[in-house]
Symmetry: C2
Subunit: 224 residues, 2 copies
Amino acid sequence: MKSTATKSQSSRERILQTAVVLFARQGFDGTGLRELAREAGVNLAMINYFFGSKKRLLTEVLDVFFAGYLEVMTTELSGEDGLPVKFERFIASAIAFFEAKRHFLIVAITDLHHEDPEIIEHKARWGSRMMAVMDKEVCRPLARTTGTQISPTLIAPLLTSMMASRYLFSPVMVQIGKDGPGVPDLQQHTAMITSLFLGGIAGLGVPDGAGAAASESQPGSTEE
Amino acid sequence: MKSTATKSQSSRERILQTAVVLFARQGFDGTGLRELAREAGVNLAMINYFFGSKKRLLTEVLDVFFAGYLEVMTTELSGEDGLPVKFERFIASAIAFFEAKRHFLIVAITDLHHEDPEIIEHKARWGSRMMAVMDKEVCRPLARTTGTQISPTLIAPLLTSMMASRYLFSPVMVQIGKDGPGVPDLQQHTAMITSLFLGGIAGLGVPDGAGAAASESQPGSTEE
DNA sequence: AGATTAATCAAACGTTTGTTTAAGGTGAGA
DNA sequence: TCTCACCTTAAACAAACGTTTGATTAATCT
């Protein structure tokens, strides 16, 4: 049973396309090279012939995702518009990118814990560049106009996690949805995150309760 | 080099405690039973003696996390208080629980993609119970008071992902933080999420831009 | 045409995998 | 002392792992 990769592609491309699907479904360590070769319709030795090692195949998968995500980030967050406009653009584009590269996203996030120094450092290099963009385009303007100090290492993972939640949980949610509420569609997901991120649940029409004092406890100025 | 498990615990407990740390660090498939036995200071055969199989060991780890998280959810979200108060309580308790059981959290989320039907169904059983609580205590009151229809399969993963982001990204963020902005502490993380979830970035002092029209595009009523 | 290169293949390399077996040890109750 | 249930052990099992080898094909260049 072949996966999405068609026979017309080159062997190298076929391996990469099949790999990301299997890695997303079974994990990196849970996917054997023989299974990958079989699904991709290539000989086992071709994988190491083209990629050198299994680990290097993983880094290529990661590069595809991080390069694309960084570009979305750079494109949508820079400019002269206000933060709400920037965020609305960014969230829409990022989720669209996640949808298109959903398997790459899952591999990138669920293999985040891989303690292999080579892999960790590889991801950290991409991460640093994203933090720089976030800091320049979001955190500094925010501090300048409102005085609120937020670290990019706080806001970036937070926003990314929100947008990725749909894909991280989908295997389980699909199973739940068998005889429960269906999985919400993409537009709902995008609208919900945009609305929530810009206005919180207050933006959904929830009146401020007595506990809304949380908005006064300024983040970014906590002593420890 | 022994891990956190001390020699005074029973072998069974020592295996479980060591397993969750290794699973979180290297993944389920990336952790061998011999390595686990060595780190826990027990004989290899003891693992299958106590747990029957490696897979059953994983389900026990998952049960610890899901049972605790479901309890937090049930406790903090029920009652007569308004939604903002409930959410503030829930976020504080949930993050405290995540911090205490951080390794269990990482295993539960990063192994979400395991396609093994037995594992998927196991997680779906817990998930269904959480969706029920979310629906009863959050989605229904929200629909009653504001008319906004949100599916629990949308809000639950979203909120969980926000709170878990700190732990999901920490391996990479620690590496980045080596010579960049440090990793924000726990209070900042909690305050940020509470503030953001209740009031969005508008609650941080950001004035509504021209693009804040997103708050008007009601989620939950999208046509496809 | 002959030489060179990239691509593909079957087969085997030595390890490591999860699991099982059979034999022993240990301490409490009879 | 014997027993019985529980715990622990070393050794072995087949299967799967990532990687390498040497030969063969097909296309490109001289």
